[in-house]
Point group: C2
Chain length 191, copies 2
C-alpha cells in the first residue's frame, strides 16, 4: 500500500509449519487434544498444542413477524447460563447442511422452507480447528419441539431487532450468535 | 411472548451443573484440558470436557485515512494461512487493557492515543472458557515494528471498507476479526 511501505513486511511469504510428529494427548467425546512436534518455516523445531473438533452449526431462524427462537443453557466452561441461537455439533460423518435442519427441529420444533448458509468462520484459530457454519432459516412452521432429555434448556422468542441490540450492548456474549446476527443485518442493509 | 406460548419452555429455570470432581487431563503452555465429573440439574452424574485458556485480545486499529493493519500467519490447526486483526494471548496475571497496547505495538509498531473495548465475546462456549476482548484503536502513530523473532507473520494495510467486504464475502474466516469489523460498522451506523 502506497505510503505504508515502511510498516508492511513479509508480503506473500510462505510460513507453512510442517508436522514432524503428531502427538495425541487426549481423545475424548467432543474434542481430541494434540501437542505436535512441528518444524517452523526456518526449519527449527517447535510444539503446537491444539484441539480437534468436528465442527458446529448454528441457525438464526427468523419468522414472518421477525421473531427468533433463542436458547438459554448452562455452559460449564464459564459456570454461567448463556443465551445463544440454536446450535449443535456435527455427528460423525454428518454434513453441516443436513445437521442444521436436524438441530433446528430438535431444539425448537421448527421446520424451515429455506435454510441458507450465511457464514462459515473459525472461532478461535490459535488452538482449535473447529469450523462453525451459521445459517439463516426462513419459512418456518412449528411441528412440535422434541428437546432431548439430557438437554436442559430454555427456549424463548425475541424480535430480531432486540436480539441485534443485545449483541451490540454486550448482553449476548456468544460468538456464533453475534456473528450470525450482525452478518444478517449487514447483508440485509446491503440489499 | 404472546402467541408463542406453545413453543417456549423452561422460563428462568436454573440449569446449573455442579462440579463433583475436577479432572485435569493436560496442563500445557497455552491450554489446559479438563474432563470433570459433574452433576446435572436433575442430580444425575455426567462428564464435561473443556479447555482452560487465559483469554485473548484483538485490536482493530483504524488510522486517519481509514486504513487498518492486518496480519497473515500460519494457523497450524487449520493447516492454512489466515488474515486476522492483530491479536494475542494474555500473559499470566496480565490485564486485557494492558495486553492490548503491548500486542498492538509488538505486532504492528503502532501506538494509539485511544484504545476502547468494543466487544467481549465467548468464541466457542461449548468446550472452552476463553474470553476474547476486541478493541478499537485510533489516533495512531508509527513508532517502528518489533515483531518477535518467532512470529512468522506478514503485515499489510487495507481500507476498513475493503476489510468489511471481505468479512461479508467469507474471505475473512477468523471469528474475532469478523466480530470486530462488523461491530465497528454496526456501532458507527447507530450514531
Amino acid at each position: 500500500m502506497k505510503g505504508y511501505e515502511d510498516r508492511e513486511f513479509n508480503a506473500g511469504k510462505d510460513f507453512t509449519e510442517n508436522t514432524a510428529e503428531p502427538h495425541y494427548i487426549y481423545q475424548g467425546r467432543i474434542i481430541n487434544v494434540r501437542n505436535d512436534d512441528i518444524l517452523l518455516p526456518n526449519g527449527k523445531p517447535a510444539k503446537r498444542e491444539y484441539v480437534e473438533h468436528r465442527g458446529g452449526v448454528a441457525v438464526l431462524a427468523v419468522d414472518e413477524n421477525g421473531y427468533v427462537p433463542v436458547v438459554r443453557q448452562y455452559r460449564y466452561p464459564y459456570r454461567a447460563h448463556l443465551w445463544e441461537i440454536p446450535a449443535g455439533k456435527l455427528e460423525v460423518g454428518e454434513e453441516p447442511d443436513d445437521a442444521i435442519a436436524r438441530e433446528l427441529t430438535e431444539e425448537t420444533g421448527l421446520r424451515a422452507e429455506k435454510i441458507e448458509r450465511i457464514s462459515e468462520f473459525y472461532p478461535t484459530c490459535g488452538y482449535s480447528n473447529e469450523i462453525i457454519r451459521v445459517y439463516l432459516a426462513t419459512g418456518l412452521t412449528y411441528v412440535g419441539a422434541k428437546p432431548d432429555e439430557d438437554e436442559f434448556l430454555e427456549i424463548k422468542y425475541i424480535h430480531i431487532d432486540e436480539l441485534y441490540e443485545k449483541c451490540l450492548s454486550g448482553e449476548i456474549k456468544d460468538g456464533k450468535t453475534i456473528v450470525g446476527v450482525l452478518k444478517y443485518f449487514a447483508l440485509k442493509n446491503k440489499k
